[in-house]
Amino acid sequence: MSEAEAEERALVVDPDDERMIINMGPQHPSTHGVLRVTMELQGETVLRSKPVIGYLHTGMEKTAEDLTYLQGPTNVTRMDYAAPLFTELTFSLAVEALLEVEIPDRATWIRMLMCELNRMSSHLLFLATNGMDLGAVGMMIYGWREREEILRFFEKVTGLRMNHNYIRPGGVAADLPDGWREDIRKILEVLPDRLEQFDVLMTGQPIWRERTQGIGVITTEEALALGATGPILRSTGYAWDLRRAMPYLAYDQVDFDIVVGTYGDTFDRYAIRLNEIRESMRIVEQCIDLIPEGPYRTEDRKITPPPRARIDESMEALIHHFKIFTEGFKVPPGEVYTAVESPRGELGCYLVSDGGPKPQRMHIRAPSFVNLQTLPHMMHGGLLADAIAVISSIDPIMGEVDR
């Protein structure tokens, strides 16, 4: 800016104008990572706001173009690090749709079981951080404690607590370990009591209600226009859940309810996630009984590496193994969009193949990225202190926002 321009601008400043522009974040603890919100304030009232993102952008969609389809899940699992299995799932479904390969029933049910457990752990993480953001610091410890139980099970099954690379094109990486039913039953036994405790600690508590009710209200029309999905859309009373509306995996064979809110406020979004844990527990319970026996990944040797023992005795198995791990399997040309219901909303994968062993284009439709657009809308006219509650109730995962 030249001096003349600066003078010109200085003239239009109104001395009585008390509006100011401040930045919240990117290091603010309540921004769940590296979200910066630029806010225009009049006193304590937020007039305008704009989320500024990109601090965590690492070009994962570009990286995906350099990885084979078998390596792909290792990349996408790092996007939504609180619910990594869902990104693996949507990517794998997209690859399988292009391959036109049928995956065994057991693999489908294992995927569903693991995803519902992941939804529980993700929502428990939300309860922990949401409580922490609004001053219920005890809640942080409790939410983390319960989530730990589920992560321990994940570690037993996949070998990792996060970023599992468990769901892969063609099935899952490994069968469930011995005694998995007992492990899950133990989790399901403990959780209902703990959720009751959360109800006492938070749901029915006057301070909590005062802090969340009527804050950050959004209507169904606004949510749909902004492309918001997941708990944000359901909090407005609109029962949209891909598990019910466009069933994938085996969700049409299990019994569960869609939790909806009434007012579209921060409290509704909190209550929906709390109750969705209960619904996920119902699905997991049914999975324990209904899960079929059989192979846990497709037997198509062009996609699934052969068992180790076969490599010693079969030349063909050795060739398949070598081809899959050096060149990777080839996927027929085409393009496809698949979507699953992640804990944050519609998680989609748009995949373009040119017939080679690596994707031509891999795009993840990240729910947090789109949901973040509702933030200026919800914060408009509210208080600065409520901004924290609103950001928290969107539950953005910055790894997924920035990719």
Binding site: G54, L224, T229, Y337, V352, Q373
Partner: protein
């Protein structure tokens, strides 16, 4: 571009309940194909905005996803012969939440003038996604309310998801710190 239009199989053309045209099915004047069981529309670039509006009136009221794609060096894309191909594609996924159905719109965007009309006037939710497509592919959206970089730094040069932007060629760009 180097892309040669790939003839579409007969079985890939049929869409139930749409107006039959000559050779290729059309909907609101745009060619319709079916890709892996999903309906795909191929409008002309200048028809794109009107098509989105018409689809919005049909019930496809949510713009669920919008992204770009670069077909440089890929001559395998599935597209009806009547649609001239360009280097870039703008891919818009629309969702009808009342009838639980989806439609995908693929617009050919030329390399020489990668500009299309914005759809933020119809779908406000497309704003962030259009900014991302602008970052990644250099697509300009005419009439966009805030065409600033969203994921990339303000002073970033180039468009990373273009096929001719190679990985690792350009060192990490840091903003200049004064006094150093």
């Amino acid at each position: 571009m180097t892309d040669s239009p790939t003839p579409v199989d007969e079985e890939n053309e049929a869409v139930e309940g749409e107006i039959p045209g000559e050779g290729v099915e059309t909907l609101h004047g745009s060619a319709v194909t079916v890709s892996n069981g999903q309906t795909v529309l191929h409008p002309e670039k200048n028809e794109y905005h009107d098509l989105i509006q018409a689809l919005n009136d049909d019930g496809y009221g949510v713009c669920i996803d919008l992204c770009g794609a670069d077909y440089l060096g890929n001559d395998t894309r599935s597209i009806p012969v009547t649609v001239p191909t360009e280097r870039f594609e703008l891919v818009v996924n629309l969702l009808d939440v009342h009838a639980s159905r989806r439609v995908r719109v693929r617009v050919q965007v030329p390399e020489a003038a990668p500009a299309v009309a914005t759809i933020t006037d119809i779908h406000p939710g497309a704003e962030a996604m259009e900014r991302e497509a602008n970052d990644m592919f250099g697509m300009e959206f005419e009439g966009h309310p805030d065409p600033t970089p969203i994921l990339l730094p303000d002073d970033w040069q180039g468009h990373p998801l273009r096929k001719d932007f190679s990985m690792g060629r350009i060192p990490v760009q840091f903003k200049a710190v004064e006094g150093r």
